[in-house]
Assembly symmetry: C2
Homo-oligomer: 422 residues x 2
């Protein structure tokens, strides 16, 4: 009997039944296909890392509040990876001497964050990470942003539904210097700017005041953050915006000076995916991290730029926009039924021959089952063809092939069966 | 500077650089292709479960000694999944009312065991799990064993290299009853039998003595374990062995009465993969678990049978037998070089058009790089074609297409370029 103690799925985690798994696989295939079309190679890392790897620069919230941690037998604190970039930086640092630069890598796998589950946000989720390491020129940032836009397209999403907002932390840093806020306050001010879209205007002003900006500076900063044409004075941003136009994805990309991102390791370009049609909110992010390999203790500085796109938010957006794909979970083309237990071997042989001909086929595994039950199984599973071999068929070395959709059937020789299944 | 404190990959864990990732993907594709040819659907579960899920029946060693555990904020003990079957039983129990039986599912993903890393064994490894739930007849066991054998074949392994040894715990239980050891000692005696191949004969005798067998019983039991023809008296085992013959994989499968498996939840058929040519050892396992859904607290009894095949041992066996596959990590067909920064936009356009024609293409991302460096990149990456667009080409609206392998080149119009890349 089931009791209160029956082990349950943990809160914020997911079971992927075949239909959910088919969606995850579909998403992965889209990501992989676009990444590979740009020449990115797939990599993966371990699910567990030392907590120290993130302590360096992932940002306090991610590390202190949201990490799932455990202590190993030597007392070392380990963390289930909350994100992939530190692992990537560690891997690239380690083999920098033998890798071909620029490195263009992508990955798709689980990430873990101990936060309150809500729609589009879980404690275990999947992200596609796309990164280029080894170069510092804006062409690289434009390529990474183009990959993200092409991924939108391959999921069926358009610029009326989703966007990519870009900014340059260096551009904002320079502006802050001009208004006299370019000192040690800067990191704190970045964190306030990152919260701008989540708090009312008066709260935003107050938060800036708490970080030491006087009313004049606050007003100046807000002007900077409202200037959607500011990028024209930035060669870096202008270049990126021009190149994404050439790539044919310019309509997905816009400059937004309020985008600064929460992760501490971003040094220059930062960008975010936005849901325009739905709830108008940030859905994924990325940026340039030119010092990360050194910050995690690597021997040399290897600049990089990349993004991570999560599965749960995208699923919500696809559903909200009527773009959720039609999925099938089963690849079986033919169900070979079993007339009675004595015929199981005959049915098994026919099934095996279909498979040898490259046709996915199942034999019905319960030899005593009535034919009705077997046909119902094919129907519920959506298997398009059913083969019947009874005493009459067996005597003549033929089978009955039923087309389940068209509700037709024909008698054909066992040898010719594979060629009758399209 | 790198210090002693630089975060390192954890012991027993793996970084999958592109070449290792290509192997993992290749293995997954073989597993998936065979499983789908039999009509299995893919599923996945969470990486974390409550420890209680395993406490029920996974066996003391797996739970108490080898589980990576952590405590959540409510004090509940969680475990990184050491195996998949309890998750599967939980998932199937939960939705038993709406699922179509028999359930035929497979999965491929990480498992975690805190044990001493050695060749072919890590703390994070990947397993392909294949299971059928809902039926208790031996045809089902024969199908699952056939899937394993077909997976061997698809990896290129033959019966001279690997085998599947099968047994029936019920058969052994009945034999133990006949020699007067069929009481509460049985579970303990099974554990001793499971160690038979790992200990010298005298130690084996002593262990049986410690479990209460007298010298006569020990002798009788050893006779049972040596009788390789014993299956002829078992209708169950005879049926399975006959059906795998029909499936054309009989040469992979043999009866071995010493195979009992370590997991507590197996009720009937048990089977193991063996490396014949190499070190002659157990490489993976499976069996029938007819009571597991109840044992983990499910409402109803759902019989099942399945196996889990791990990536690390298989990799060793493929290498030892010269069957490790030839792998490529990069899918790029064409590298479009950049003559100088002014030509970047032209090169980018050509690259984008190649991709639109379905050809995986890269533009060289460093516009200042010398052509030599760009060609060297293509060479080191194994990119088969290179496109050059200089001032002369641009003026005539043509490109130079180099075949890197044949060291030939031709000049073609930009429009015709995609059709010249095979």
């Amino acid at each position: 009997m089931q009791t209160m103690n029956t082990p349950q799925l943990l809160k914020g985690f997911r079971d992927f039944y075949p239909l959910e798994m088919a969606f995850r696989n579909w998403l992965y295939r889209q990501f992989k296909s676009i990444a590979e079309s740009f020449g990115f190679e797939e990599y993966e890392g371990p699910m567990l890392e030392t907590l120290d790897l993130y302590a360096a620069k992932s940002g306090e919230e991610l590390v202190k509040k949201q990490a799932f941690t455990l202590t190993d037998k030597s007392g070392k604190i380990l963390a289930l990876r909350p994100e992939m970039t530190p692992t990537l930086a560690r891997m690239v640092s380690k083999k920098a001497g033998s890798l071909v630069f620029p490195i263009k890598w992508f990955s798709f796998g689980p990430r873990f964050r101990y936060e309150t589950p809500q729609r589009g946000r879980g404690r275990e989720f999947f992200q596609c990470d796309v990164d280029i390491l080894g170069l510092e020129n804006p062409e690289v940032d434009a390529e990474v942003i183009s990959v993200a836009a092409k991924m939108y397209q391959s999921l069926g999403l358009s610029p009326t539904e989703v966007r990519i907002k870009i900014n340059d932390r260096k551009y904002i840093r320079e502006k802050l210097e001009l208004i006299g806020a370019g000192d040690e306050k800067m990191t704190a001010i970045f964190k306030v700017i990152d919260k701008k879209s989540k708090v009312p205007d008066v709260v935003f002003d107050k938060m800036l005041g708490q970080e030491g900006l006087n009313p004049t500076q606050t007003k100046q900063l807000k002007n900077i953050l409202q200037d959607k044409q500011g990028y024209v004075n930035s060669e870096w941003l202008s270049k990126i915006l021009s190149l994404v136009q050439t790539m044919g994805v310019g309509e997905f990309v816009e400059f937004d000076p309020t985008i600064v991102r929460g992760l501490d390791y971003y040094t220059r370009t930062v960008f975010e995916g936005w849901d325009i049609k739905g709830e108008f909110r940030s859905i994924w992010g990325g940026g340039r991290y030119d010092n990360l390999t050194e910050e995690i203790g690597g021997r040399q500085r290897i600049p990089g730029v990349g993004f991570a796109m999560g599965d749960m938010v995208l699923e919500e957006i696809l559903k909200a926009n009527g773009k959720y794909p039609k999925l099938e979970t089963i690849k079986t083309k033919v169900l070979v039924t079993v007339f009675d237990p004595d015929f199981y071997q005959s049915s098994l042989k026919v099934t095996n021959n279909l498979r040898k001909a490259g046709i996915n086929a199942e034999v019905y595994l319960e030899p005593e089952a009535k034919l009705d039950k077997q046909l119902k199984y094919a129907d519920r599973k959506g298997i398009p063809y059913v083969v019947i071999i009874g005493p009459e068929e067996a005597a003549k070395n033929v089978v009955t092939l039923k087309n389940m959709k068209e509700k037709t059937q024909k008698i054909i020789s066992i040898e010719e069966l594979p060629s009758h299944v399209p």
